[in-house]
């Protein structure tokens, strides 16, 4: 069991107003699964993904990653977890504009304190895999949207994470490019990577093998594709 949550909740206090974004979510996700978390906006799917990705901490409940409770971990332990075991792909790509493609992809390796020769070797291999090795010295503003997302995917995979989270990965792409990116995720899933996809688009969610439909901070329905 890679991921297990018990009654996970998240409460935001916005001044006097208290917003319950998650109201007790319990799921189990196995290694190698390809899961889509779907639901309309405001359903809590992004909040849930941020908790699973250790970018945020739950208000209550338990979260076991590889059997270990991560709710009480320190900043150092959490960042190590994000660095080694988790990869993120965002809707807006989140590439650093100042850095080249190569430098963007090697960023997680820098925080893993890997020496520069090994970094470059690994990064080039990963860029080869997403078909962008010829663009390695370019900066993000010289790339198309699809290319930027491929760079982001390469960055998410560079440290061989246990799980890749993709938050609306096709949201900023045209439908043709979106399809290409989704077939790349399919390939990655077939290679045995665990992928958790967050999307409001049923057509995108259909790529995953299991769908967790969320509504009002709870899981409403689990459907196997």
């Amino acid at each position: 069991m890679l991921i297990r949550t018990e009654n996970l909740t998240k409460v935001y206090k916005l001044g006097a107003v208290v917003v319950s974004a998650l109201r007790g979510v319990s799921v189990e996700i196995d290694k190698g699964e390809y899961v889509a978390i779907t639901g309309p906006s405001g359903s809590g799917k992004s909040t849930f993904m941020h908790l699973l990705g250790c970018l945020d901490t739950p208000s209550s409940g338990k979260y076991f990653f590889q059997g270990k409770d991560v709710t009480g971990l320190s900043d150092i332990e959490l960042s190590r977890l994000r660095n080694r075991s988790i990869g993120f792909v965002f809707q807006t790509f989140n590439l650093l504009p100042r850095l080249t493609v190569l430098q963007n992809v090697e960023l997680p390796l820098i925080y893993a304190k890997i020496d520069s020769r090994t970094r470059i070797k690994k990064t080039e291999a990963m860029l080869e895999k997403v078909g962008l090795r010829h663009r390695k010295m370019h900066r993000p503003n010289e790339l198309s949207g699809g290319e930027m997302q491929r760079v982001a995917i390469a960055r998410a995979l560079i440290n061989n994470p246990e799980v890749v989270f993709a938050d609306e990965p096709t949201g900023n792409l045209d439908s043709q490019t979106g399809k290409e990116i989704m077939s790349l995720f399919n390939e990655l899933a077939q290679e045995g990577n665990t992928i958790i996809l967050v999307t409001h688009d049923p057509n995108i969610a259909r790529y995953a093998r299991r769908q967790l439909k969320m509504l009002d901070g709870k899981i409403e329905e689990i459907r196997e594709n």
Binding site: H50, D56, D75, S79, R82, N83, N94, L96, L99, Y111
Partner: protein, 412 residues
């Protein structure tokens, strides 16, 4: 994050904001420039002044009408004081701790001519033969005047190297006659050179027997009655404590001047230490000015750095979120921003060091002030700027480090 990667990343950021970075560090540049230029000028002066002060003779005591370095003096009151006399000198000579004394008077002559050549502002001193030993004069050629010259009031003199340069560039000065305020003086010796003191030559001198001097030069009046009056140079016996000799002289002089115990001294006893004190007072002012200017500009510079780093943190909030998402911990982010701040200020410090050294160099070239830049002043300048970078950079860096990853990532 490894240090090498930290340095590389900071440099790439500073390079993208060259103008902004330069303007930010201007305060630091000015602060460090001030420190370095003033320190190297003071350092340069220190060593040269100390050498000169020591050349006066390490434990020579000067008995005069006034105390050196007393700041503002009431000249009227000084003029009413009793003159120091030759008799005082002989009385001091009899003190058990005193080795030699040399009473002396001097005067400046604006211009001294010899066969169409001129020496200007020559210091003429009258004294006794022992002056040679007390004031550390060496004789390069010929001889110093002796006791017999003194007793017979001979019209003889010895001259300094600067006079030789100006009046006798191509001829032998010994045996020649100089016309000093209407009297002929035979040159019997040439003094060894002492070099310059605060940029002024000490070799523009003529020394003659005091007895001859007294009958040649009129008694001084006005200011000169104080500052050009007779003074006595005293050399204590070797092995004697300077303070003890000074006390004996003070007691003797007070007795000779008939001062009761409740009256202050009406004479001055000066030593090398008094000169050092005067010099210290001057340099202290320079230090205070320097510390003031430098402190203000370093604070201004530090605030500039803090400001620009706060701007950088908010500009790059999304970047901070992304870095945390891919594995940067709080300390990585803290170091990244702190390192940028320190790098900025060290670059400012380096520019300041270079400008400061250049200013000191220029000043020492166009003026007689010497300059020396010991390594420690450079290290001081750089470590000061680094300290400013750390002090003013820690707050913005800490703010960046404490950002919650998801809040930072969502920041627009």
């Amino acid at each position: 994050m490894r240090t090498k990667d930290l340095i590389k990343s900071s440099f790439s950021i500073l390079k993208t904001h060259t103008l902004r970075s330069f303007l930010t560090v201007l305060g630091i540049v000015i602060g460090v420039m001030t420190i370095i230029s003033i320190l190297s000028l003071i350092e340069g002066m220190n060593s040269s002044v100390e050498k000169q002060i020591q050349s006066l003779g390490s434990n020579t005591i000067f008995v005069q009408k006034y105390q050196w370095g007393q700041g503002r003096m009431d000249i009227q009151q000084l003029m009413r004081r009793k003159d120091i006399t030759i008799e005082d000198a002989w009385a001091i000579a009899k003190l058990p701790s005193v080795d030699k004394v040399a009473p002396q008077r001097s005067s400046e002559i604006a211009s001294l001519d010899y066969l169409g050549r001129t020496a200007k502002y020559v210091e003429v001193t009258g004294s006794t033969p022992d002056l040679q030993y007390i004031a550390n004069w060496t004789v390069e050629q010929g001889r110093f005047f002796n006791q017999e010259d003194y007793l017979r009031r001979q019209s003889v003199c010895v001259i300094g190297g600067y006079i030789v340069d100006n009046l006798f560039p191509n001829e032998e000065p010994i045996g020649k006659y100089l016309n000093i305020i209407g009297k002929r003086f035979l040159i019997i010796g040439v003094l060894g050179r002492k070099g310059s003191f605060l940029g002024q030559t000490q070799d523009n001198v003529i020394i003659m027997p005091l007895s001859t001097f007294e009958k040649t030069f009129p008694k001084p009046t006005g200011y000169n009655a104080v500052f050009r009056s007779l003074s006595i140079q005293v050399l204590p016996k070797s092995g004697k404590v300077l303070e003890q000799t000074i006390d004996q002289i003070r007691e003797l002089m007070r007795r000779r001047h008939g001062l009761s115990y409740d009256k202050p001294d009406d004479f001055g006893i000066n030593t090398q230490e008094s000169l050092r004190q005067i010099y210290k007072n001057i340099t202290n002012i320079a230090y205070i000015v320097m510390i003031g200017v430098a402190a203000i500009s370093l604070i201004v510079g530090g605030i500039g750095i803090m400001n620009i780093m706060l701007v950088a943190v908010s500009e790059r909030t999304k970047e901070i979120g992304l870095r945390k998402a891919v594995g940067a911990n709080n300390r990585d982010i803290l170091y990244q921003f702190l390192f940028e701040a320190v790098m900025l200020s060290i670059i400012g410090g380096l520019i300041g060091v270079i400008l400061g050294l250049s200013i000191a160099k220029i000043v020492s070239t166009v003026s007689p002030l010497p300059a020396a830049a010991p390594l420690w002043t450079v290290l001081l300048g750089i470590s000061f700027s680094a300290a400013v970078g750390i002090f003013f950079g820690i707050y913005p860096a800490n703010r960046a480090a404490q950002l919650n990853p998801i809040d930072a990532l969502r920041y627009e």
